[in-house]
Symmetry: C4
Subunit: 191 residues, 4 copies
């Protein structure tokens, strides 16, 4: 089965997810600057989720680039990842509208955990189809960064109930690791 | 007429349908776990519909793969299928928000019946254009699985008024037949 | 300038328009059949608009098929058509939610007039770029059907204030001319 | 890295943004012409934003046409531009629903400033990757029009607090410079 349509469909879904989040940015009521103030937590959440979804698209882009073909298992692993990504607009709004309260922050983190898990499953499904000596296997390596992200997300969800800002800080930290891949910080983690 | 743009357009519409459903997942009001509780029926419906739409995309993907060209009749048969699929977000929300009450469950089932009917019409239109000895005709076979699904859906809508959970159980059962195509259960049904 | 991306962008916008209309189908409040009743005018409008947008997509599909390249003028003529098409979800909902009252029916018709006008402008822009002896010019002919549709739409908007059902009937009639292109009725009009 | 998927993803996001704005055109309440009246500022804003987003799509289309490949830096510069474009539906609605009050007009202008800045950053990132002697570098030239637009937008935001209509007029003026590139006015500015 060709990979072209899977890529196109994935691009479509991710493009919609990343744009739909803006619908949760309610039009401010009132016409002066004070009307914008209650919007800032939602806006910050939107920025964070935009970057997170952008990272996933970037990674999927690079990953499928080295892939030759997809089977039914890969297709559903990919749909599974898209499922958890498609929940991002609603978990983002839940966290933003409640001004980073503990439970919404944990729910947002749970969604990140499930996205990272689904991503790992997709990597495994592609590994199984392509074998150890292919361009795909070499490019993805041991996916250390992916597994570290997953571990940090799980820790973050738990630590949220200690202090919710630890959770938020860890979500931002993981985003930065992927966003700034050439800095020394990211390289150290990679090693 | 080339099939490329029909595939691209179909992918686009399906990608939007599958993502738009999340808009019916209202952002929970309140910031503790009890705020999430009233959302679970909507969430379960979302999961079911995500899988159903995913199955249709998967099937359309495979079917158009063996097709060489499309005529006006196929194009409208495809749009007809997309029409009933595009109603899935609203029938899903109707079922979820009413916590699986009988009429909404039947309405959801009616939409599934119409999707399955539209899919059969599309298969017939492609058969008519391609003839019996083509790759398409061999791949689709007698479309037994499609016709069984349609029959089960019709029965499910009727049985909903006896016990609504029979309807829901049958919808889930059909989804599993398509989702897990390699299990013995599915093979038995195929035979 | 290549036509590929213009086609892809057009497909994307049309796919979104056709799917977004469903968002105006409010989830019925209540859980029995009587809850569905107030929805029927909106539903019928949705069916009509789905077919109308489907016809435009079909025509754009066929038209761009015979086109070799596009210039800036064509690009903006195409965006102009997409603009009026993108208003279809809101004019559709306006007509449906007011149960086919005269003014909303006329507003819907005005949108159809503008779509048909924009389509004619696009045809002219492509004519100008391609010249009279190209495949495009031969395929589109004198665009009699397009011009008849435009005339009927203009008449329909006016007649709506006499009897709103005349307007609705004429909108449906034009849709049928395009939808059933092989019937004798359509052929007679073509002649 | 190939540019095909970046183009497709960009087209998808822009198509969604341009269509999603219509969701902010609320269905008028009431069924006569007076119901349409309060909608006109929102409608005018929608027209302006449709043209602005159309211009960006047009420019991205032409720019990527001369580009051979993209790196991670370009990819994120592009996502950064899409981020500010994705805020256009909400800033448009904010300006329209407040009938062009000063602060919303300034906020809309701020979004335009950020879009123009992001566009310049994207141009710089592509310059850096392609070098001075490529088709891209020759086509984009010194991007005078882009830098003039940015300067006018910044001035417009400031002047809005003097008189909000100056801001609006300058937004419209910049749109016209790009929309009507063949008029003498645009040529003079180019020179």
């Amino acid at each position: 089965m060709g990979k072209g349509r899977v890529e196109a469909f994935t691009d479509g879904v991710v493009a919609i997810i990343i744009t739909i989040m803006v619908l949760d940015l309610k039009v401010p009521e009132g016409e002066d600057f004070s009307a914008l103030l209650p919007q800032w937590p939602v806006f910050l959440c939107y920025v964070l989720s935009f970057i997170n979804v952008g990272i996933y698209w970037n990674n999927l882009h690079n990953m499928f680039h080295t892939v030759q073909r997809v089977d039914g298992r890969v297709l559903w692993a990919n749909l599974h990842l898209l499922f958890w990504l498609s929940l991002m607009p609603v978990t983002t709004a839940f966290m933003g509208e409640n001004h980073f309260a503990a439970v919404p922050v944990a729910v947002y983190g749970f969604d990140l955990v499930m996205c990272a898990t689904a991503y790992s499953i997709l990597v495994i499904a592609l590994h199984r189809q392509h074998g150890p000596d292919t361009a795909f296997a070499k490019a993805i390596g041991r996916d250390r960064k992916g597994r570290i992200s997953l571990a940090v997300y799980i820790a973050a969800v738990g630590l949220t109930f200690l202090d919710r800002w630890i959770g938020v800080a860890l979500y931002v930290a993981v985003a930065l690791i992927w966003l700034v891949p050439d800095t020394r910080f990211a390289r150290v983690i990679e090693k």
